[in-house]
């Protein structure tokens, strides 16, 4: 009986293709929106997590200047006491629980090879930097200790720099000019792509800190110190230790605030991830409202359908249909309609999410739970919004219904 009714309702959907299609549109758009939003949302969350972990997992970043806070803007101000080799030495000597400690000074600099040029992020650092940031070399070698100490003109380049100057060729041993000093390429960094904020992480040149300070910055300052925690030490434990050592090294009296800031990249990652999750939820809720509107569309069409088929209902009642037969018939029809819409919506939603993941370079992360929820919800919408029109049809008087033109 139920299969029969489902078959009949499919027939009725097929007999009124245009009307069925228009009815479905609301549900299709609603479900597609929900699926696309939630799938893109969870892809974005994954992407953000991956991006932050590219910045280095369990990473603390020390910068000079007061931390940003309610007192006003933090960061560098004219009175800032820069970081230098004594802070770095103090951390290396006294900090436990760190996997890698590395200084970094950075500047956007014009890099030239032959007639080509490129503005690139040039970083002066040491050999622990790759470990601290979890970066790898595709070819070549890291800086040697003697190169670090003497500040030799050698460098590691990112993929974007290679492509600009050498295409697919091997850059090793070539000499590039960085801010009028020459620099020999000793290695190529693994490509990392763009960050979620659109920053090209491959447009970089690394050189020994001493070389950078002497030839590019013209001072002995260190812009930031990266401290990577080892596997056993959470960053929340490491952070106060770094703070103590630095206060000591910079001789800050107990009654004075820090004149440096320590940023915990893990916390930033968590905050970002939870922000995207909230965003996803809100977009999903908005899409959910459109599903509701779709449901009202179903109700409208079912009411029209009941009125239009009053005579048919009359015939069915006359030849012996009970109220429940008519009720079930229209309920099943509404449910089949909205389920059909739901399935089409899922396909369109997944296609949209797939397209978005291709164009925005985020992972495609469909969730079975979300899909099942959308299917269940669209069936529920059909039943709920189909019930009133179905009941109206079932309650018709067969004599009036037969007389209906």
């Amino acid at each position: 009986m139920i299969w029969e009714t489902v078959r009949l309702s499919l027939l009725s959907v097929r007999r009124n293709v245009l009307r069925s299609f228009l009815t479905l549109l609301g549900i299709v758009i609603g479900v597609a929106a929900v699926i696309a939003m939630l799938t893109i949302g969870s892809g974005t969350t994954e992407k953000v997590k991956a991006d932050i972990s590219k910045l280095g997992s369990n990473l603390l970043v020390v910068r000079p200047g007061r931390p940003a806070g309610p007192g006003g803007p933090g960061g560098l101000d004219q009175a800032t006491n820069p970081l230098g080799s004594k802070e770095l030495a103090a951390l290396v000597a006294h900090l436990s629980g760190a996997r890698a400690i590395s200084p970094a000074s950075q500047k956007q600099v014009r890099v030239i090879f032959g007639t080509e040029s490129l503005t690139s992020g040039v970083t002066g650092t040491d050999s622990a930097y790759l470990d601290a940031r979890d970066w790898k070399l595709v070819s070549g070698r890291p800086f040697s200790d003697s190169e670090i100490r003497s500040g030799t003109g050698v460098c590691l380049i990112g993929e974007t720099v290679r492509q600009q100057f050498f295409g697919a060729g091997d850059p090793e041993g070539e000499i590039i000019r960085v801010n009028r000093t020459s620099c020999k390429i000793v290695g190529l960094l693994e490509p990392k792509g763009y960050t979620g904020f659109g920053q090209d992480q491959d447009n970089v040149v690394l050189m020994p800190l001493a070389a950078y300070q002497r030839r590019i910055a013209g001072n002995r300052d260190i812009d930031s110190i990266y401290v990577a925690a080892d596997d056993r030490t959470p960053t929340t434990e490491l952070l106060p230790r770094v703070e103590d050592i630095l206060r000591d090294a910079r001789r800050i009296p107990p009654d004075r605030e820090d004149d440096f800031s320590i940023r915990d990249m893990t916390q930033i990652a968590d905050a970002m991830a939870s922000a995207t999750t909230t965003m996803t939820g809100m977009l999903g809720a908005v899409a959910g409202v459109s599903l509701l509107v779709g449901g009202i569309g179903i109700m409208n069409i079912m009411l029209v359908s009941v009125t239009e088929r009053t005579r048919e209902i009359g015939i069915r009642l006359a030849i012996g249909a009970h109220e429940k037969h008519i009720l079930i018939q229209f309920l099943v029809e509404a449910t089949v309609l909205s389920l059909l819409g739901g399935i089409i919506g899922i396909l369109i939603g997944l296609a949209l999410a797939g397209l978005a993941s291709l164009t925005l370079a985020i992972p495609f992360a469909p969730s079975l739970a979300v899909i099942l929820l959308a299917v269940g919800f669209s069936a529920l919408i059909g039943m709920v919004f189909g019930f009133f029109p179905a009941l109206r049809g079932a309650r018709l008087d067969p004599i009036d219904a037969l007389r209906h033109e």
Partner: protein, 236 residues
């Protein structure tokens, strides 16, 4: 024609509206139809013949009085019980055929069997047989739009008899048909009456259609004005 009593009206009233505006469509009608009879019901508009037919077909109930169908007090049954009664014992043929549009002939004929819960195979076989009985072999898979008026009415008759009903209620069955088609349909009804012993109650306003019946009941102003055996039954 001398079967058992199938239908009896005992002082049946059917009234609409209230107070001053009350209209009595039936005003204390007494009536009896035996099983196997072929009865024509005639009368002008508003005479109460349609109301009487609705009560006979268990579609409607009297306001007062007793309507009994096969010995059952059908006038006091609820909607669903009357629906069951119609499904089991009554077939309907209407002036406007009342087939489901965009639905094939055989599907239309299967319809009453669906509400009996018959299996798909059985339904199909019975429907094909009923279509053969009304002379529509080869047209089973045509939709109403692809059939002529006479053929559509044959499908409707097949739908009415597929359940092997006791009573066939026909409301102006030839009202939409030309003379030739009218005679074909009336011959079919007559054959069903004689061969299957089907009791037929038929509303018509055409005397030559009524002539196919054995008996004519005339309504006027809510009363039975005359009830007579046809002396000259039209010969098929």
């Amino acid at each position: 024609m001398s079967g058992s009593l199938l239908i009896t009206f005992d002082k049946v009233w059917k009234s609409y509206g209230q107070g001053e505006a009350t209209v009595h469509a039936l005003a204390g009608v007494d009536l009896a139809i035996r099983s196997g009879e072929f009865v024509a019901i005639m009368g002008p508009s508003g005479s109460g013949k349609s109301t009487a037919m609705n009560i006979i077909g268990c579609l409607d109930t009297p306001t007062a009085g007793t309507y009994s169908f096969m010995g059952i007090d059908a006038g006091r049954l609820d909607r669903n019980r009357r629906a069951m009664l119609r499904n089991l014992y009554v077939g309907f043929v209407f002036q406007g055929y009342n087939l489901l549009p965009r639905t094939t002939a055989v599907e239309n004929v299967e319809l009453p069997l669906i509400y009996r819960g018959a299996a798909a195979r059985e339904r199909h076989d019975l429907a094909m047989k009923a279509l053969a009985e009304v002379g529509l072999v080869g047209r089973e898979h045509h939709t109403p739009a692809e059939l002529s008026g006479g053929q559509q009415q044959r499908v409707a008759i097949a739908r009415a008899i597929v359940t092997r009903p006791t009573l066939l209620v026909a409301d102006e069955p030839t009202g939409n048909l030309d003379t030739a088609r009218t005679h074909e349909i009336m011959e079919l009804l007559t054959r069903l009456n004689t061969e299957l012993g089907l009791t037929i109650a038929m509303v018509t306003h055409e005397a030559d259609v009524a002539a196919y019946a054995e008996r004519t009941i005339r309504f006027l102003d809510g009363h039975v004005a005359s009830d007579a055996v046809n002396l000259e039954v039209a010969q098929p």
